[in-house]
Symmetry: C3
Subunit: 485 residues, 3 copies
């Protein structure tokens, strides 16, 4: 079978990842073990000394352990990262293995590096020099991976797994730095990461894709689309992202009303977004038919855009308004902007992350700035305003208006980090050592995966097909192995 | 390809939803924003004033926020609504997009209207005239959508998305009214909604389907069945419903033992139900083979039937008995009653909701009545009885026996609302303005979705198929585009 | 169609489960109802007397009910049992119904028996003679089923559902006994069940498969493999197992830091495991391509091996080391050991449970022994050491070193129970009364399921296929029904 198959696809496809992929994985994992050995320890709520800590800090019950506040949300976020992002990328007819499999690989790779990078910036115990980790850290590590997985959406099908590991290594590093600047230096609030995750990740991916532009990508056009069941698989990803987005935006919000409000605002925004995405999708086709690409993606824009303001008092109708406009903007992006980007700006964006992450993330950042700037004590209460905007310590005197300005500045920082970082990483990926596929083998799992043969998937009908296949063998000059039939 | 395709399916299929679907979505969503702006605000546990509320009400910890009692259950319910119901309806060979996609649309549409309708009846702050929402409201909104999604099961593949939005609009409205009568006026207990969700939703859908009877539906019989992988997709829906049903029945039960007991009773009932559903399915076939329709549906009847009594002291073996009989009744319904309904009562019930929701829901209502009527202080404890049956305030003097009578009456109210409401909505849907598919285009995603072409899904084999296709082109007088091959 | 189909598959396939399967299901379920009626009641936290219990025991809040500590983890475990194990076994091209469907049946069957068996050993109220159940019991019941579902992996596709019910009946019984010996008599710690679940279940399945060796299994080799989309379905199982494994290992760990630490250790181990599994998979192929079998299975070995030590202070880098080596060992197992076992030891292990459960489980047991033996008060704190190793009551004086010895002994007990128990159960399954499939019908859903016909799954292309099919009918001497086309 192999011979025949190759004749259709233009010869051997050995991309030589056999050496580079294992080497990178092993070297990396060993480095992680060493660095974790030096730096990473359990925090007080995770350590077996917790029973003493409880007594010392007069904590009355085990249920006050942060685990019980955040672990259910963590699991939802975890599902979004691995099943949500993973299955959303199975929509291509012959790149489902790569979509879900490489997503799995790079998220598992990225979260370890994220624990270290974010730990050095945020969770370092300055007395001992150790990074102390607990449930909030693993949520943040998952968030950090999300930035890179978004970028993967733009280059899906066009890069090798080794390149993806490089994208992840730099993506996590850049993320940790921009997050430090935005959250710690500028002291922005961004519980659900409109800025630090989506705007950064979106522009990071677009910049990489711009540098890696393939003028002859049309040679893979036979594989650049979905089939019926691959679209249904992608809906698994869409729905798990959509359903668990309230957990995403509330996972690291303040205990109590903060988490509660973030979940409800996101729930509402996402619901509104579905209706306008459907409306625009139907309007865009001559016959009013819906396009699965829009349903799979644009319905999620409402969650992205609520990332910053979900924990604010944006009010229920405010959430609906955000979802309303983001559904429209995102769907129009798929219809108008993605083809424009490809044609005029030479940006090939496989999953349309421009419309789902980059633009809604940027909008979410600015919406958050406006909502923060207009916050008042009458709406939030005196303590509520301080808690929600985090105006304590060095930032105790900052007014809501000033906070809004900093939020807007933070959004710009995220975009700049994405664009500049992505361009640099793109140039690194241009080096001819990474084993990426040829232009006519993009979007093809055969390049990096052992793909099962299909002849016998549907026994009775295929018996006929095989009979016919024999008759037509001369067309292919192949030497079919039929002994298993 | 289009030309050829049309010649198989009898000409153009423009159902003119291009105007009506976007208009309905936009008008509706704008109405929602206006109404939310006028009416909907955060409740005390969601508002930023929570820190003051805590002090005023002497609440010691953020973990006492209702969010932590109910949010994990909410997320499970959310998965049931969107992935559970959605994927359960992907079983048809060419209506998987419609199954999961329209389910997504109408649930997102319905939950907003449900927040308003249920809010006016249940959560209105009479001082300010505002609806105050929190996590319990969004669980209830999801529940309310479930009623309509059940009805969708009966008419799956036979109605347009615009009709579905009408079904949802009226379904949510009817639901809110019958729920008010059953829970507030009659003061029934129905934590998992055997009555208010399943009996109502089931009979609502059956009545609609009865009015919309299509005598020539057999013209779509080529599409009225599953294929191998569509049945596997449907199992995703089945399993997420089955697994999370304990959360469904316990989500809004009383804090503490109420939620705990509801989850365990449902867990047991569902387990028993699987065994009897399998047994009857095997017995019903000459060769003892199992039928996927039964496994996908009848295994869930035990959860439906425990909706009312899950929070009662039905005892573990009582739960098993409920599951035991519901598995039998539901499977027999699929084998005997569904064909009978179609042949003699002219009710075409695509998913068999009669057997999964209508009958088990009704039974669940009456089981709840019996269990409530036989409740005693020795079994529940004095306070336990009051809490579990909700015999406080105006209802403090009601005896368990009387409560049982009201529970039975509540079940009848739900059924009457379903049947009468469904008949009226069915008549509205008969108006020739909704863009429903012709009899020979039912169960076909091509009518409302851009469906990907399939020729190249399996490259090597398909090359042969394409060769053969060329030879046979004259059969179709088509003009295949082959340039991308 | 039936006639034609049979001619390919060698005549009728009635395996006579039509009598045995329903009889076993009914008899069993009735027995369960009787036994539950005699023995099973709600525990204090599930019973309506909880409000009195709270006052008596000075419990300040409903949130202290064990439900809120464990229910989110229970739901994650529940997903692993039904979707995780179920979908992991859908990878075969024509045994997806059997994979997910029989998994569903036997888990629902097993959990009821597990509640009784484990209840008699662990939760018996000696005053009343009743088993008192709550959320921890249903988690343990799910765990107990996991042992049998692992065994199912070895015999997937080769046994009848009746045989599976026998495997489950004995598997749950053996599990309860070995669990009692390991946890209660030897007083081992095994929160995530490396020993009691994975080592036991793995060797139990291998022993059964060894006894049931089929020398002519190659006759089914046409069905012994995956197709493209069945591999994607299997990834659903893999990912839900992988994502929720932190909940699995922490579900019944100690409240507070115990659950917290177990989750984080498992999270880290699994992440490391993915990288080394990918590395070895790529190295094992001439062209560096990845093998889906490894990605679907070996990536999970890190969770299995952390089952015992997840709640210990193994430290974050210790967790990474465990994952690192288990990913290597498991992948090498798939490449080297599984073929060896089949060729030389006559063990046909369909899913490779040797590499995913038996060996990592055994390793996990010994790793736990080492970690326990090296525990010190300085690392755990005085109270932390007592709590984590459970050195209270009769075991208060036991040193960590001694505890380590007992842990190692416990691992051996689990393996012996698996091997001996499996061999005995295998012999019982050899009786010619169970309706198992012939050697040439293994891995074929047609034997036990009504499988939908496939001809029309893809309308336009299939029209051509049907035309061609007609031409070729003589090849089959069939009488195709074409009236529905």
């Amino acid at each position: 079978m192999g011979n025949c198959h190759d004749c259709f696809y233009g010869g051997p496809k050995n991309t030589n990842v056999r050496l580079s992929l294992p080497v990178v994985c092993f070297v990396w994992e060993i480095a992680m073990i060493v660095l974790f050995g030096i730096f990473v320890r359990y925090d007080e709520e995770t350590d077996a000394h917790w029973s003493e800590f409880k007594i010392k800090h007069n904590i009355s019950s085990n249920i006050e352990n942060d685990f019980y506040y955040r672990y259910p949300s963590f699991q939802d976020v975890h599902v979004m990262i691995f099943v949500g992002f993973g299955f959303l990328m199975t929509f291509l007819k012959r790149y489902s293995f790569g979509g879900v499999g490489f997503n799995f690989l790079i998220a598992a790779f990225g979260l370890q590096w994220a624990l270290l990078m974010q730990g050095w910036f945020h969770s370092l115990d300055h007395e001992t020099g150790k990074i102390l980790i607990g449930v909030e850290n693993i949520i943040n590590a998952d968030f950090c991976c999300a930035g890179t997985l978004i970028a993967y959406g733009a280059i899906l099908g066009k890069v090798s797994p080794v390149q993806l590991l490089v994208v992840t290594l730099f993506g996590v590093t850049l993320y940790a730095v921009e997050e430090f600047i935005i959250l710690s230096v500028l002291h922005c609030r961004d519980a659900g990461g409109s800025m630090v995750i989506h705007a950064f990740g979106g522009y990071y991916g677009l910049a990489i894709s711009w540098i890696l532009y393939r003028p002859n990508l049309h040679r893979s056009s036979r594989l650049h689309g979905s089939v019926y069941h691959s679209d249904v698989f992608a809906m698994i990803g869409t729905l798990f992202l959509w359903m668990f987005w309230p957990s995403f935006n509330s996972a690291i919000a303040n205990h109590g009303d903060g988490q509660h409000r973030a979940a409800i605002n996101t729930y509402l925004s996402l619901a509104a977004c579905v209706l306008t995405a459907v409306a625009i999708s139907s309007m865009s086709q001559k016959t009013g038919k819906l396009d699965m690409v829009h349903i799979q993606n644009a319905t999620l824009a409402g969650g992205v855009a609520m990332g910053t303001s979900a924990e604010f008092m944006i009010s229920p109708y405010g959430s609906l308004i955000v979802g309303f406009f983001c559904g429209i903007i995102s769907t129009c992006g798929f219809i108008v902007v993605t083809p424009f980007l490809e044609k005029y700006l030479k940006i090939q964006d496989t999953c349309g992350i421009h419309n789902l992450h980059a633009v809604p993330g940027m909008l979410g950042g600015f919406i958050g700035a406006i909502v923060a700037a207009t916050a008042t004590e009458s709406v939030y209460g005196k303590q509520g305003l301080i808690d929600t905007l985090g105006l304590t310590g060095n930032f105790a005197g900052r007014s809501p208006g000033t906070q809004g300005g900093y939020q807007a500045a933070g959004t710009c920082v995220a975009i700049v980090f994405g664009l500049v970082g992505g361009a640099i990483v793109g140039l690194i990926l241009k080096l001819p050592i990474w084993g990426d596929a040829a232009d006519d083998n993009c979007f093809d799992d055969e390049v990096y995966w052992e793909v099962p043969e299909e002849e016998e998937s549907i026994p009775p009908v295929l018996e006929y097909n095989n009979h016919m296949t024999h008759k037509n063998q001369d067309l292919c000059e192949s030497n079919f192995s039929v002994e298993q039939i």
